[in-house]
Symmetry: C2
Subunit: 319 residues, 2 copies
Amino acid sequence: MATPVILVLDADPPPRLGRLTGRVRVRHADARTLAAQLPQADVLLVWDFTSDAVRDAWPGGGPRPGWVHTASAGVDRLLCPELAASSTVVTNARGVFELPIAEYVAGLVLAFAKDLPGTLALQREHRWRHRETRRLAGSRAVVVGAGPVGREIMRLLHGLGVRVALVGRTARRSIHGVEDLDRLAAGADWVISAAPLTEATRGMFDARFFGLLQPSAYFVNVGRGQLTVEDDLAEALRRRWIAGAALDVFQHEPLDPSSPLWDVPGLLVSPHMSGDTAGWRDRLGEQFVSMYERWATGESLPNVVDIQRGYVPSRDIPL
Amino acid sequence: MATPVILVLDADPPPRLGRLTGRVRVRHADARTLAAQLPQADVLLVWDFTSDAVRDAWPGGGPRPGWVHTASAGVDRLLCPELAASSTVVTNARGVFELPIAEYVAGLVLAFAKDLPGTLALQREHRWRHRETRRLAGSRAVVVGAGPVGREIMRLLHGLGVRVALVGRTARRSIHGVEDLDRLAAGADWVISAAPLTEATRGMFDARFFGLLQPSAYFVNVGRGQLTVEDDLAEALRRRWIAGAALDVFQHEPLDPSSPLWDVPGLLVSPHMSGDTAGWRDRLGEQFVSMYERWATGESLPNVVDIQRGYVPSRDIPL
């Protein structure tokens, strides 16, 4: 076998691939050059996981890499019919983001329960105003998305005494099917979205859904921006259908400075950072290198995405 | 036995003592009338636990109630030498505040780890600025105060993967003695104060102590304001000796609008509310009523304060 070519769809800073020195040829592409370089690549590392370049370049002619790895949990940005129809294996970064995202969600939920945004606002005005806060233990959460991220969120919230229902595409063991979502959401204090973006989930959090929730409920989305109909959420908050919300992901990122979302009352806006704890890029690079070691020796790869479904099936992940 | 007299040092709203109707005579006092009424009371319920009235009134002449219950965890405001020398039993509200305070501390720690104050500040400016945050799991906390509050904080943080050292007055089993505090604090990411206010703990968090901490460390005080030398903490934050702090308790409460503490960079100020989840006053009233039932039938009381030490000894509380 010739020295394998790893093509990196680059982002800044680049991945640390020093451990592969002498064993591979690393080439770099950007959105403009990707199409021309794809036919020479054995492996494509989608390091810039915010780019649509793969979806754009893949349908062109010529050989295609047998393995595509994306340094992200979601694969929605790179899937296209031609890739889905191919024999290429697609893997994701499962294992890197779950715990940080779950901690972030726990932090948001506690911040809402204890009205930390209110405390910070009062502090700016030098106002001492005692309020009663919420007890988190015993409250109810619905986590939408039964993949590794959703499961880690469930684990952390459960450790804080929250009664958590996990909702996936289909009911299985201790996971509710999506047909239970409306009923569960109507009784929930916290609705957490950690679902993959697929045609089935796009826009699922809309006016109808927010209308089901309790006025005391909070909504948090750390999945993908397209899961939420942003105008509907803004309207639900303005009309006080729900108590508050936090979005870490948006239809268009970065969120434009002129977006009305920044100023919606009760909405906490963060810049798609829930999974990114210090050292996250190094962990992503190390994960790719160790997956490459398996690939090079013909071992089976972990984290293989079901391209039809658009996510890594988690039926084999123990709860 | 004549119908027992319960004297209530009142606060607004008053305690719900309806369940005792017909069995007791309830009288009400404020700071001005307490001294005159103490001799007729069998039981004193310190419902206004922010008052110094008991300490002021107790030394006067005449009979004294055999039981004083305070609707608070700390007893520092009511203890005086004459009460300490008496045979009066003092009890506190152990069991009501632990979990809410621990949740509040977990919320603060996660808010700091995920830079939630920074996110809210950037949102006000419509600025999308991705940052790397901290992973909470695997970080180190020192909890100062090995009573029920400190233990509950340890339990919740431990559930979030934090390595927690608990520091009490004296070493015992899995609790460190105060002689270990400097060493533990020097390696901690989070220093949490949940200690009682005694002559041994007053002012223990001072410039010398803050100087020991890592520049990345955060300090949180949910114990009593007098544990912290506030000017020293403000200076440590201004000089960036530590990364941030949160105070829920202060030397003087409510904090004056002109206090410089409101504007210290990196300091989160909250109005002594960490333990006060919705329904807390009702829980305090119910606790007193059920303790009264025991007292009236001659059973031993729970939550008895060691008046010499100034807190409920926790040697018998399982870790």
